[in-house]
């Protein structure tokens, strides 16, 4: 299979320029990069069809080897249509981004920055618990099982138990 050297060189240059532009921060350049990459890929598909031949319109008198392979061209056509649609959509997104932020750059993700800056120490999860919460502590035993203190019957004990608990939270530090 012989291939067209010019096409290959053009394809290589398009890929190089396309990737260079894709890595820019400016959105318009990124879009241009994508368009160049899509065109380079179309050339690649064209090259897979082999050397140029006759248009693939069937004629009994022409041997099959004379025709060009139509399939890669069908691929290219599909790919052109798709990249056309995506380019139009990207342009509208870039315009919208320009309207919103007055900049042609990729904006930063605020939530990402916030997550990156947050402290490793989370004072809610790691706080010490100042009062005893063990099951074996008498405050956490059912009233009936408690050691009876002279002068306090079970009724009184239940009443004591149902009183609002002492707040056991460490006072939260004021966050600036």
């Amino acid at each position: 299979m012989s291939v067209n050297l010019t096409l290959l060189l053009v394809m290589g240059v398009l890929y190089a320029v396309g990737i260079y532009l894709l890595l820019e921060r400016s959105l318009t350049r990124v879009l241009l990069g994508l368009m160049l990459l899509a065109n380079a890929t179309n050339l690649l598909l064209l090259a897979t069809g082999g050397y140029a031949g006759l248009a693939p319109i069937f004629n009994k008198d022409i041997p099959p080897t004379e025709y060009n392979d139509p399939l890669p061209q069908a691929f290219i056509l599909t790919s052109i249509v798709i990249s056309f649609a995506v380019t139009a959509f990207m342009l509208s997104l870039i315009y919208r981004s320009w309207l919103l932020s007055r900049a042609d750059d990729i904006q930063v993700d605020r939530e990402d920055l916030r997550v990156a800056k947050q402290a490793l120490y989370d004072d809610e999860e790691d706080s010490e618990i100042p009062i005893e919460v063990s099951d074996f502590h008498e405050n956490n035993q059912p009233a009936a099982k408690r050691e009876t203190i002279p002068g306090i019957g079970p009724k009184k004990a239940v009443q004591l138990l149902s009183e609002p608990a002492v707040p056991h939270k460490k006072p939260r530090k004021d966050k600036a």
Partner: protein, 542 residues
Amino acid sequence: MNVASFAPLAVVLPFLGAALAFVLIRKPRAQRRVSLATLTLTLGLEVWVLASVWTVGPIAVHLGGWAPPFGIVMVADQFSSLLLVISSAVSLAVLAYASGQGAADGEQGGPLSVFHPTYLILVAGVSNAFLAGDLFNLYVGFEILLTASYVLMTLGGTGSRVRAGITYVVVSVVSSLLFLIAIGMVYGATGTVTLADLAVKIGELDSGTQDLLHVLLLVAFGIKAAVFPLSFWLPDSYPTAPAPVTAVFAGLLTKVGVYAIIRTETLLFPSDKFNAVLLVVALLTMIVGILGALAQTDIKRMLSFTLVSHIGYMIFGVALSSVLGLAATIFYVIHHITIQTSLFMVTGLVERRGGTSSIMRLGGLAKLSPILAVLYFIPAMNLAGIPPFSGFLGKLGLLQAGVADGSPMAYAVVIGGVVASLLTLLVMARVWNRVFWRSTADAENPDPVLLATAPDSSGQPSMSALRTSKHVDATEGRFSGENEIPILPKMMVYSTMGLVVLGLAMSIFAGPLFELSQDAATSMLARTPYIEAVLGEGAGTP
């Protein structure tokens, strides 16, 4: 003539529905009915196809009567029809959810009127990718679903969505270009793109060319499936989209990438050459993904990271390339589609109820709306892999397959899988503790919507009676309607409930499902049933 011959209708029906929904763009109610009816029909058809393929094996449909390898062929085998059924069921639930949201908030004339047609096109693209019998049709399926997803991702065009949307579009276009390059090279090397034909012809190429094609396809699909280190784009872009959109993306889109990886690994490149690489990648995806989730305080971002992490399990099963590993992967894929989607749907409800999806600003929801607590708890435990649930069964199958493999690398991934599962439980429990369990008073700077109906006002308000008016959150302008709107519309809650129940049903009917997965895995690893279905008898044997 088999019912499976009508499988291409799974692609055609949503397209027709999309066209009709587009015509009805000014009539939201009719639009909702059309799209719901379309998806119900499609689901019915796919269940029928699955039932007929279940025992018979792969069935190929030659479109336009052109004999393969020249014509376009669509193949319904057990794996693809199972995925079709699950994806349609999930997308139907999400559509009902979105319809409920639209009906409640009043979307007339808003940008959301393009939601229904675009959504149906997305479903058509997903079905097309699952049914595609050749690489180029797979590419077209991907492009259909991606283009629809670009529109859905940036619905409304707010600043954060546009920012996330641009990253998403650029990354997706680059991955599609890589796929197209791979197709060009495959065609240049073999002269065909039909998968069944390639399965025979790729084996005849010299090993260097094979490796090149293999790696190109793996990278292209790896970006779509969000496999580490190609997963960076996912947690960045998914959380900003509207709740129903994120739910369906999380459930379906990455799984289409996983499907493509499974298909190429089993059919085109059955050699074990890259299995070690895939094992390393699976391990890294699991661990890095879940570590990312640990750092998040936003539920949607956290779920996106767990999504990445759990893709690792699926790659693990593929990399083992044993019947048990592949069967467990298939089971895990369908489990994960359902569970991940229902978690995102519940998160959408939590966001409506609490006004935010940041776990710092939420609290006391177990008391405020117990139904949400139940709807979150079941899929969360399922995702973490707590015993009776399908998540446990899928992981168990994968771990067994890993141990059966016996290589040190497989053991390493088994350990990594257990650790990642444990960390998933930690992450899920953190959300549970903050959002549902602690008291509302502990929430930092809670949204007015959360406090608007604190339980001390007058008993428990029922979920549909719970309403918010415009002045409650006029600061954020979240709801556009003139009148009071229900915070938790019945339709949204019921559709979420439906999906959670589907997830539970998977745990209950895990036996038959796993058998089906095993059948599918056996047939895919044998390759001949697929090749013979497409090319005719005797073509698969070399």
